[in-house]
Point group: C2
Chain length 317, copies 2
């Protein structure tokens, strides 16, 4: 364990007053169906409907700039828009033009400007650079590769530290690596050695490949997994430094297991999860032997999904 991780200087003390504690829920029917003792940590009821609000809020609290600019497939943008609105800052969000419609609308509802980008033509990063030149007063925020973002997400690790004694593992989705690196950081800061597993779409498995290779590997382009929160080129540099030492393993989850996990949460727990949010349960389906009879906390990272996408998934029953 890295001794440096015992402090969290980047976590703003006012964060706790802004966020909602995660909603912990035993899931007896899911547990019976899966042969795993499942505890759900639902971030679907966090402000703006995903864990991203933790990071966005910490960032907006920490930076002095009057304008914050970011690229996001949706949830971070929505979270940042809401955090900036609360703190009286301007906010601009670069979003792929394939983003879920509900996410685009929600960003606008919180008063932010949406700048669409066709990622087949131009990278999100290039579009952000363009806008950063146009708005020199803006702070450019990464949705994951940022100390304030990691510290904001670490707040969930600190919360889970309170229940770690009754768990064998925690599983959380891996997109840019912001959530898992935050969990590792927070648990570590609390002095908890609970095993953190990542759940990554098999068709966007850059983090799993990176772990196997021992070095950071990126995708050529954003993989079009149903888990739209995990459509990344790769995990961030700061996230990678934490993951390569701190993550127990990454489970690669096939698309069909992601869909089945959404359905199981609907039927067995009355929980509306977005596909990315269901990845941890998908990992239990994809690697049943690894977790059988273990006590596992699945982080349901978000719930924002277009009704049409959601119902297409439910219809697959």
């Amino acid at each position: 364990m890295n001794p440096a991780c015992h402090t969290l200087p980047d976590l703003h003390p006012d964060l706790w007053a802004c966020i909602r504690p995660t909603t912990l829920m035993e899931a007896p029917r899911l547990s019976r169906w899966l042969g795993v003792e499942v505890l759900l940590a639902c971030e679907t009821f966090q402000h703006t409907g995903s864990f991203k609000f933790r990071a966005a809020c910490n960032l907006a609290l920490q930076v002095a700039h009057p304008h914050v600019l970011t690229a996001s497939s949706g949830n971070f943008g929505q979270a940042l828009a809401c955090a900036c609105q609360r703190m009286g800052k301007q906010c601009t969000v670069v979003m792929p033009d394939t983003s879920a419609r509900v996410k685009v609308e929600a960003v606008r509802e919180y008063g932010a400007t949406v700048e669409p980008v066709d990622v087949r033509v131009m990278s999100r990063a290039a579009r952000v650079e363009e806008l950063a030149r146009r708005f020199p007063e803006a702070f450019v925020a990464s949705a994951y590769d940022d100390p304030f973002v990691i510290a904001g997400n670490a707040s969930l690790g600190l919360e889970l530290a309170d229940v770690a004694g009754r768990l064998d593992a925690v599983i959380a989705p891996v997109g840019g690596g912001g959530l898992t690196s935050g969990l590792i950081t927070g648990l570590c800061a609390a002095g908890q050695g609970l095993a953190v597993f990542g759940a990554e779409p098999a068709m966007a498995n850059d983090a799993a490949r990176s772990l196997r290779a021992g070095q950071l590997i990126r995708n050529d382009q954003e993989p079009q997994t149903i888990a739209d929160g995990a459509r990344n080129i790769g995990v961030g540099v700061r996230n990678w430094e934490i993951l390569r030492r701190g993550i127990r393993a990454i489970v690669e989850v096939p698309e069909e297991a992601i869909r089945e996990a959404v359905r199981l949460l609907f039927t067995g727990a009355n929980l509306k999860a977005e596909p990315t949010g269901a990845l941890a349960v998908g990992a239990l389906l994809a690697a049943p032997e690894r977790f059988r009879d273990h006590r596992v906390c699945c982080v349901i990272s978000g719930g924002n999904v277009d009704p049409s996408v959601y119902c297409e998934i439910l219809a697959g029953v």
Copy 2:
């Protein structure tokens, strides 16, 4: 206020160890959209997915019979099946053959026997009488018109008494009247005079008509509202005695408002509610002037809904 209501002798003390506390959730987006400060009391995460488990559990704790027999459009049956399974009792549930498929399956999953009935040919009550003759050792449980059921549901009133100070009203669905009479009883037992409103489907408005007439009025047959938990002939006699004195008013909710409420909970609160469970939010849509700028707790009574019905509702956006 009835001085007799200050005690709850029918509430079994072991109930608190069996049930889950309700999940309270501020709903800022819904509040903004509706112009009402909304607090959700979600019973969708109660064991078996609805508030009915409170009543079923209290009843199974209180009666000594080895077999419990009931009629239920689904949620009470599922709850009773689960409660009986936990306490080693046999359970038989009479269900209309139009009941939601997920509800029928869940009753069977908890080890109970389902006895279907075509309510156009024979009433549920008649079918129960038939079975009661066949099983003389069975206790025949009403899903609402029973002191143990009312006391079990009163546990939610006792929980809400803790937050009553920051509320102007609580709204809950009316089917057989078990939930609203329980809420009134529990709040009263806690010494809280918080106003309790009922939300009833307009096409199944027997309770609203009863209040207007000052006497218990029943429907000729079960109205086929989308809110399948409110497809009752009428409220129970015991429930009526409590409602006629204790309920502030009943809001009659059109079918389209029930559907819209399901959609609003999906989009604005990431909450999966069944149509009956969305009735309280439907009441805010149906009677906006009555609740504008008030602080209102909406009881989301249950979340068990067939994916096909749910998606048909969501598609109506």
